[in-house]
Structure formats: C-alpha cells, structure tokens
Amino acid sequence: MEKMYVNHLPCITWKWLKMNGVESSDLPVSASRITADVPSGWTVSDDTAAQGSDIAANSNAEIEKALFADKIVTGLGPDMDRLIKEADVPVLRLTASADEPLVIENIYKDGDSKLSAVEITIPDGVDAVVTEKFISEDVCSDGNAVCGFQTRLIIGKNASVKLDQVQKLAKNVVFYNDIGTFNAENGRFELVEVILAGGSTYFGSRSNLAGRESSLDIEMAYLVKGKEALDSNIAAFQRGKRTDAQIRVNGVLKDEAKKLTKATIDFKTGSTDSVGSETEDVLMMSDNVVNRTVPLILCTEESVEGVHGATLGRPSEEIMTYMMSRGLDKNQIYDIMEKARLDAAAAKIHDEQTRREIAEYLHPGEETE
Amino acid sequence: MALLEIKGLKVSVEDKEILHGIDLSVGAGETHVIMGPNGAGKSTLGFAIMGSPEYEKTDGTVSFDGEDITEESTDKIAKKGIFLSFQNPVEVPGVTLSSFIRNALEQVTGERIRLWDFKKKLAKAMEALDMDPSYAERDLNVGFSGGEKKKAEILQLLMLRPSLAILDETDSGLDVDAVRTVSAGIEAYKKDVGGALLIITHSTKILEALDVDRVHVIVDGKNACEGGRELVDNINENGFEQFVK
C-alpha cells in the first residue's frame, strides 16, 4: 500500500473545505508484536491473524452496510485494516477479566515504523479497565518516526470497558491511533483520550452501538503546539433503542498548530429514545493556529434527541478581567487555563502511574499527588 | 343522571396497573374533591379521564353527559366540555397565550370569534386573575413562573367555559397571594359558568372558600372512603394513614 485514505467524514460536504477525509502516504510498514504484562485473569488467544472489516470500497455506504452487519469499523476506516493485513501484523487477541487492569505501553524510537494491533473481547457482565500509552523514548527528539496502533473492542452484554489513552510523542512523529468498538446490549465504552504531544496525529474512534441501551462516553483533551497537527474523527453509530452517546472534546491550540475535529452522532431508524450529545471547547492561544471543526448530527429516527455545541476562541472578557483582578497577567491566565483543561481529563485516568506521568509533564518540578 | 360517571376504571401506564377499579359520579354543577397520599393515582385519574394515550384504560367505563367517552380522543373529550388543568403545564415556544386561547376557543365552540371581542374578554379575565396584560403576547407558558403558569391555566378555564373542570394540584407550589387569586378565579368559574369541579389535591388550602359537595379518598389506586366536607377536616387532623390497610 502506498497511500491510505483515513478519517472519512460519515456524510461528506463541500470538497473545497478539505474536511471529508485525509490521504496520507507516510505509512508505518513493519509489523510489531505488542509486549504487555497481561494480568493473570485475562486470556491470550493463539490466533493472531488480523480480522479487519473487509470493506472493499472506502465509501460511507459500504461502511454503513458493514456496521449494520454487526462488524467493527474503526474511526480511521477500512484502509487501516488493509494496512494491518498487508503488513501481516500479529494481533494481540485478549479476553478481559474484571480483576485487574491491562496496561499496554508503547515506546517509540527515532526511525521506528511500527504497526501494532490489539483486539479485546469483554465478556458479558465484565467491567474491564485498559490503559494504552504511546510515548516517544525522547519526547524532545527531532528524529522521524511513523507508527500506528489499532484497538478493537468487542463489548458484551452488560459489559463495560474503560479505555484510557495517553499520547506523548516527539514533534516529527506521524501517528495513527485507531479505535473501533462493537457494543452489545447495555455494553458501555468509556474513553479518556489525552493528547499531549505528537507531530502529526490521525485519531479515529467509531462505535457500533448495536445493542439496546449501549453507550459511549468520550472525554478527549488535546494540546497541539508548534507545527503539530491533529486530525480526529469520532463517530457514534446509534442503532439500538435507548442508546446514549456523549462526546466531550476540550482542546488547546498554540503557536502554528493545525487541528480538525470531526464528530458525528448518527441516529439510525429504530434507535428509538436514544440521545446523543457532542461538544467541543477550544482555546486558541495564538493567531497562527488553524482551528477547524465539523460536528455532524445525522438522523433518520423521530424519537431521539441530539445536541451539539461548540465554542471556539479565546477566554471571555469576563474571565480575563476576573482573573486579572486577582493579580495574574495574561500569559499566566492562559497557562492556567491550558493546563486546567488537560488536568481535568487526566484526572479521569484510572492508572495512577500514568496520571503521575502526565502531571510531571504538564507541571514539571511541581509536587504531584 | 350524573354529568361524569366512572365505573370500575382500571388504568395502566407502561403495562403497570395504577388504578385498580375506580368508581366516581359527579353531578352537573357539583364540586367534588379527590384526596389521597402521594402516588395514590389521583393525577392518573385526571389524565385517564382526559384520554391521554399514555394512560391505557384496561377495564371499566367513563361516561360524560350520558355518552361513553372511554375510547374517545383527547380533543373530542375537550370539545364535549371537560377541561383539565395541568399540574405542570407544557411550554409551547412560538405560540402566544392569546392566539392559543383564541384557537382553542374556536375549536371548542366551532365558531369564529372576532378578534376585537376576544381581546376584550381576555383582558377582562386576565385582570380578574391579576395577570400582567403583557403575558397575552408571550409564548405559551415559556419562561412563566410556577404561579403564572397556574394562572394561565385558570385563564384558559375561564375563557373556554367547560361544564366540568378537573383541577390537578392547582394550588401546589403557590404562595399565599397566588392561591388567593387562583381561588378567586375558580369561584368566578363557578359563578359565571356554573360548571362542575373535580379538584385533585393533597392539601386543603384551595378548598376553604368553596362549597364542597363530596370528598373521595383514593389510596393505592382504589376508592378508600367517601364523604362530605367533614372528611376534609378529618384528613387535616388525622392524615391518610387511617385509610391505608
């Protein structure tokens, strides 16, 4: 594969906006086996063959068909599956247990071109906790690397998975972070996504809310700075009755950062009494950033409620005046507000060690916890 | 013949039976009170009489003016002359109180009403209820305080002139002055229209100025006791425990 097309907007719009999807030719090529301390209660399968959604065309119609056939289609899309298959990536295939959390730590080095994949089945009634870290060995390096990671989650009846992801990558790293979930009846997917650094990030997460009362809760916080870029595609495909999708994105853009957020709630016919909400709040710290957002609500069901809200810009005059009256200058206020956003999301991460690492990165030299 | 005649009425909400066979008879022009502890099914009875599709009548009959209205649709029931004052009136953005009442009045009477006559009548009724005239042009119940919402309900009662008014907890959440105004509105309805009243309440403030003909106590979805005005005083002193088996 020479190029892949990722992060399709589930319903396309004007081409000149360049928001419908991204074509990229910077691809990770070498298959990389995940090394993790799998807790004793979890089981590892011998089968490491990549599954993929087997979608022939990159079209939204094909993706929708696959979702209706109870398949997992990830946020980045079918090309990522193809890439994983082509590179013959050995998939770490696990069955979760509630007893102990799983931590997967990926340390990337300059020159790496690693592609890995994990697939976790969460059996009926099990509540699992997973932490995934994507970290550059030297976050200050200016060496190149192109890496990718895919997480597929099959969430059983009355089961839940809390997935916490932290990304701290060097400024010339291209990274593909791809998530796909299938949620059975009352299957719950909770994601805390904290993006602290990374040269060029493609992040995608799509949930197939097939089961009745299944749900999705995403709390995402990002800091994009320097010449970094972030392209995100978050999608909730709401099929079951009384499904619930909550997507909250808080971000900070600095310097010459570029960011595009795509977030979609898609109510299909039959998703009676479902609700969906998406919000994005972006703090723009510089005049040279590019802040793009396209929040979709798609709906073919009468009995649903969907809302979307976005505020993009600088802190309000009231906040500035209030904080300045307490003796802070503009830069200090911006610094406080920037960190407050990331701290809020980081506080939701379950793994204590990971929380501490984020705090150390955001507040160097300060006493933590 | 009674104006409203309910026999053996059973009502379910989402397949759960709330009323287990209620009997009730209200004569023309009479004032009846329905009392009972929270969750007894009092409001359910009001909604069921009014034909709400969420309240399924599984057994028994409701007749009004000699006609069986058990399966009738809500608007037809309203046109026959029953009015339900809601405990929590719904907000309807974009539709003014004034245009709504005029619309409803035309539906209920089947006649077109001249705007000028209507405005005069409405202004008079609003004055009697001590309502700020600007409320006429505000969107129906949108941003109204609890008290204003209740007054707007009584205003509709006075304008629509039904032969039976069911008042569901009309006095709840009101301050003393508002209760006085609402009570005055109800008295005006009795005097001008001479209609029957079915008052659903768990307190007795609103009953002070009214001649009550009959009091019905409902507990756990069943008739627990029936009597005259003296029953109100009894409940004031002894509460509902005495009726709970």
Partner: protein, 468 residues
C-alpha cells in the same frame, strides 16, 4: 367537515394551476454551443455577453456534477428547455399583460400586493419579464429597478458589466457555469447613496412551461448608506417532467448600507432548485437573508455572505420544510474577512413523510478578522421515522481574537405537548400544525405580515393537507 383556521384557507390549486403553453418562442431541448448562440441571438445580446455565454458553456462541460449533495441524476440537461419566451413584451401596466398571464399573477396575489405594500414589482413568466413597474416616488429618489436585459443594453450597461457574475463567477460550480451560459430575465436594482427605500421591492418568478429551466439573474447594488428590502417569490405548477431553476443573485452592499433579501420559495415538487446567492458586504454594511424553502424536489441553496469591510454584518434566518419526495439541501456560507465583522445564523428545519433535510454551512474567520463574532444555531424537527434530517456545519477559524459559537439540536414534538394542546380541544393534526408554526415563528416574525401569513398557510398545507 370543513376545517376552521385562523388565517385564510388556501388549497394547493393556488400554486398548482397551469396554463397551456402558448409561448411565442421555445428553443430546442438541451445544451450545445449552437443552442447557446441561438439563444444569444434571440435575445440580442451585446458582444461581451455572447462571449461570456460561450466561455461559461465551456466551463459547464468541464466541471463535474457535485457528488456531495442530493442525487440530481434525474435531471437530464438534454431534456431541459433553456429558453421559453412568453407571447408578450414586457409591460409596465398590468392592463397590458395578456389575460392568461395576468390571471396567473392575480391568482398568486402579485398585483394586489403591489397596490398594498410594495414599492415596485417585477414579474417573470418562464424566461422573460412580462411586467415591471416601480412606484413614482421611489423612482424619483433615483432608485433604478429594471429588467436585466434593458439594464445590460441601457445607460447602466457599464455598471452592470462591471458587477455581472463577479460574485458568482462561472467557475464557482457547475450550475453557476450553466447560469452564465443560458441566463435570461431577472432584475437590476440600484439604490443610490443614502436612499432608504421604505417599502419592499418584489420580483416574482413563475415557471409555467413543462420541462423548462429558469435562469434569471438578479443584480442588486445598494450604495453607501442606502437601505433596501427585496422580496423574491417563486412558484410553478407541477409536471411529471423535471424543471430546473438555476438563477443567480448578486448583491453588493456598500459602506454603511443595508440590504434585506427575503425569499419564500414554493416551487412545485418536480423542480430542481439549484440557485446561487452571494452578497459582498463592505465596511459597516449589513446583509439580512430571510429564506423559506417549502417547494422543489431537490434544492441546493446556500446564500453566501462575504464580509470584506470592517464591522460588516450578516444575518441569516432560514426555514426548510421537506415533505414526501423532497430533498432540501440548504444552509449558508459566511466568510469573515475583515476585523470586527459579525454573523448570526438561525435555522429551523422540519422533515415529514419521508422528506430529507440537510443543513449545510461553512463559517470562515480569516486571520485578520480580529474582534469578529459568529453565532450559529440550528434546530431540526423530525415528524416521523421515514424522514431524514442531517446537520453538517463546518467551521474554520484562523484567529484567536474572535468569538465563535455553534449549537445544533434535533428532536421531535413531545407527546406531552400534543396531549396538552388536545386537552384544550385541538385535534392531533391541529396541535401538531400549531407546534410546527410556533417552531417556525422565529422565521415568520422576520417577514412582512402578508408573507408571514403565506408561510403559515404553507406550513398548514404541509401538515394538514389541502384545505377548503
């Protein structure tokens, strides 16, 4: 039983009646260079217009059909008649308009409205204006309101040439190119500096010929400090063949001027409405779009505000009602390209009976647009689960010193509200119609009374069906 309504009853025949085709001239179907040249000759175009048409036709053939919106494969350009001249010259007195055509406009209430509440009227029947008149006092203020052909050839020729298809160049999209090639009819409006036109001007477009296209061009220049309200109305009888409307509206709002452009679109449900509207607003000027979309089979409609002067402002208020066999892709585009500009977008959509609504928008705030404000709010109502409602708003913000807010909501009519209204004697249909009218209130209250009434009638017609 006859229904009682608060406003005058209407029935579909009000829009749906059709006249026999007695046009004087009808160009053959389809689109070739030969046809375009013939059309140009027929209209007596000046040289530059003819050149422009040919250049546009070339672009039309090169630009692909849009693949991001509703399917327009049902529109076969080889079957569309691009030019139909009615059997009359343009008149300035209704008395002189042929009875049959006059009848049409009388049924639509245009002459009556002119007497009551309009400063000027233009009426287009198929491809040409059949009537144009402006009130004397307005004319005396120096306001020019004329049919586009006379404007091109007359004393404003240079002004027209300077502005024509500069905001909507034929390169913009396929149907802008088509418009450039086959445009015919429309109006030219010039409001001189400081002149405030107290009451609205109106153009009404009626497409009577089956299988025809209407491609009128409207050019409005509101000079510094001037003020104008322009109303556009459109309708057509229903045919079994596709009709096409690909008009273009270009509005220049100069320094400190204000223009309000209102449309109640009620094309018949075999119409492909691929209309383009752009306003360019200079320093301190303001454009107000009021847009009601009720008719047509397919619509692509996104009025665009290009805010190029400091403090320029755009207001967009829109409503779209998609019923059976309708796919309405509507919305707006705003570009903030100067400091302290502001834009407000408020839309409502209603989907019913399998109808499809898409709200599509884009907001761009340029790096130099410091101190700008933008608020977008769109609310959609789904009346059943056969219908569809999509919201696709895009934002591209390039300065931190701005304030951009966006909110979207989708929902249904609550059973509780319907029950409440029914308990006061309204039938279920009446109750729902009332709720939908209330939902549309934020748009109808922006319209002059007669048009608000017409809009309410259209909502009732869609909700309850033909009345009376």
């Amino acid at each position: 039983m006859k229904e009682k309504t608060q406003v005058a009853d209407i029935d579909r025949s009000m829009y749906d009646f059709r006249n026999e085709d007695k046009d004087a001239y009808r160009i053959e179907n389809g689109l070739t260079e030969e046809i375009v040249l013939k059309l140009s000759e027929e209209k007596g175009d000046p040289e530059w217009v003819r050149e422009f048409r040919l250049k546009s036709l070339k672009l039309y053939n090169e630009i692909p059909v849009p693949d991001w919106g509703p399917d327009i494969s049902g529109l076969n350009m080889d079957e569309i008649v691009t030019y139909v001249r009615p059997n009359t010259d343009m008149k300035t007195d209704w008395k002189d308009v042929p009875d049959e055509i006059k009848d049409t406009f009388e049924k639509l209430g245009i002459p009556q409205a002119e007497v009551k509440s309009l400063a000027g009227v233009g009426a287009q029947y198929d491809s040409e204006l059949v009537y144009h008149n402006v009130r004397k006092d307005v004319e005396e203020q120096g306001v020019i309101y004329t049919d586009f052909e006379s404007a091109v050839k007359g004393e404003y020729g240079d002004m027209v040439r300077e502005h024509f298809m500069k905001l909507i160049p034929p390169t913009m999209h396929k149907f802008a190119a088509l418009h450039g090639a086959v445009w015919s009819g429309g109006s030219f409006v010039y409001v001189p500096k400081g002149v405030k036109v107290a009451i609205p001007l109106q153009s009404y477009f009626r497409l009577n010929a089956p299988g025809a296209g209407q491609f009128e061009h409207t050019l409005i220049i509101v000079d510094e400090g001037a003020d104008l309200h322009f109303i556009e109305g459109c309708s057509a009888p229903k045919y079994n063949v596709a009709n096409l409307h690909a008009g273009a509206v270009e509005i220049y709002v100069k320094k400190g001027a204000r223009c309000r452009y209102s449309t109640i679109e009620n094309w018949s449900k075999n119409m492909y409405n691929l209309n383009t509207k752009v306003a360019r607003v200079e320093e301190g000027g303001s454009i107000e779009w009021i847009s009601g979309s009720f008719g047509s089979h397919i619509s692509y409609l996104y009025p665009t505000s290009d805010l190029v002067g400091e403090g320029a402002r755009s207001d967009f208020t829109g409503i779209a009602f998609a019923n059976t066999d309708q796919n309405l892709d509507t919305g707006c585009k705003v570009a903030h390209r100067a400091p302290n500009t502001s834009s407000y977008v408020n839309t409502r959509s209603i989907s019913k009976g399998g109808g499809v609504n898409t709200f599509r928008s884009s907001v761009y705030v340029a790096p130099n647009a410091k101190g700008s404000k933008c608020a977008v709010s769109c609310t959609s109502l789904m009346l059943d689960s056969e219908s569809r409602s999509d919201t696709i708003p895009a934002m591209d913000i390039r300065t931190s010193e701005c304030d951009v807010g966006h909110e979207a909501k989708i929902g249904r009519i609550s059973d509780e509200t319907v029950f409440y209204l029914m308990s006061r004697g309204l039938s279920e249909d009446e109750a729902k119609a009332l709720i939908v009218s209330g939902f549309a209130d934020s748009v109808s209250k922006e319209l002059p009374l007669e048009y608000a009434v017409e809009m309410n009638n259209l909502i009732r017609l869609e909700m309850i069906g033909a009345i009376g």
